[in-house]
Symmetry: C2
């Protein structure tokens, strides 16, 4: 008697789902069965959405954000935005949280990583030459470093600040301090230390 | 200045991923970005696996398990299996855990549900007429009820046992008791009660 398992197309679907970040073997099986059960319309739509997205989405060669219109992307091409201020972020996904604040109306530059000796990622792995090129071409007066407040973000910010020192451009870094709504009792020592250091005169 | 969001194909992909069971908005976004980032080969393969699985997989009209060859499925068609014993399960996904035990070499019958007054699911919503038909056609000597040990499983098992009383077929239910490897101290009261009731002479 042969060993019984799911038919091959289901096993293949489970294998592909298992590769997704955060999806374990059990979730992959559950999703596959759900899709093939009463939800085959959802399966067809997901399949089409994947194919369309892979076809249609590229990244802007200037800022590194997602684009469906090639270069420049909607942000780089927007007439109302200030091209003289460039906000440097680690990942393309950091752009939207900043956009949602409504506090920034300049351009972006995506590094596609951050300096991390532990992961063997150095400055040469980041999109830095391209940033220097943008600055050299002129028209940029300020670079805002919107990198993380962890060790890697610290290293990345310090490296870029140093590298840009010779260039005629102001360099700033987004503030660190108490998160909104948080009391002092819930802040860790380092956060409080940085909040004190970054205090502003009222 | 227009509000910036992900391009439409990414939003559509996120929307489709969000529908999957166990995938929240954040996971959907994370998966979409992962797929469109360095993993577009994975996106293409997942898209193809979905389309293939939807096309190729049906359910066996006899037992209700998945099939890529129409009727009968590999289990119903296997020459080495005992067609006179039918194991009744709630879901098609219950078949493989039973197969993995290696303890059962008969046929299956999938109910596609279980009696649940709270969810408004009654006996008429289960594939019971089809089960009665299989038994009436003859050749089945035992029906094993492999339904859950929760309230709904209890109700389902009792209903089917009663319905099959008039038919010339033995009806059994899989045992309830201590799970393998578990001590008495980790078993709840009801499990212990059932383990006592189901005690076997040595």
């Amino acid at each position: 008697v042969a060993k019984i398992d799911y038919p091959e197309p289901i096993l293949e679907l489970i294998a592909q789902l298992k590769r997704l970040p955060g999806i374990g073997p059990r979730s992959a099986e559950r999703i596959a069965i759900w899709l093939l059960g009463s939800q085959s319309a959802a399966a067809v739509q997901l399949s089409a959405a994947l194919a369309t997205a892979v076809d249609a989405v590229t990244t802007c060669q200037e800022c590194g954000f997602f684009s469906t219109r090639g270069n420049p992307c909607v942000i780089c091409a927007a007439p109302g935005r200030d091209a003289s201020v460039v906000c440097v972020v680690e990942q393309a996904t950091d752009v939207l949280p900043l956009e949602r604040t409504g506090a920034f109306k300049g351009h972006y530059h995506t590094l596609r990583g951050r300096i991390s000796p532990l992961e063997n990622i150095g400055p040469e792995d980041l999109r830095l030459e391209h940033l220097y090129g943008r600055i050299r071409r002129g028209g940029i007066r300020e670079v805002i470093l919107a990198v993380g407040s962890d060790v890697e973000g610290e290293a990345t910010a310090n490296y870029i600040a140093e590298a840009l020192r010779a260039m005629k451009v102001a360099v700033s870094r987004i503030a660190q301090g108490l998160p909104a709504g948080g009391g002092l009792e819930s802040a860790d020592e380092l956060t409080l230390f940085r909040a004190l250091q970054g205090r502003r005169t009222l």
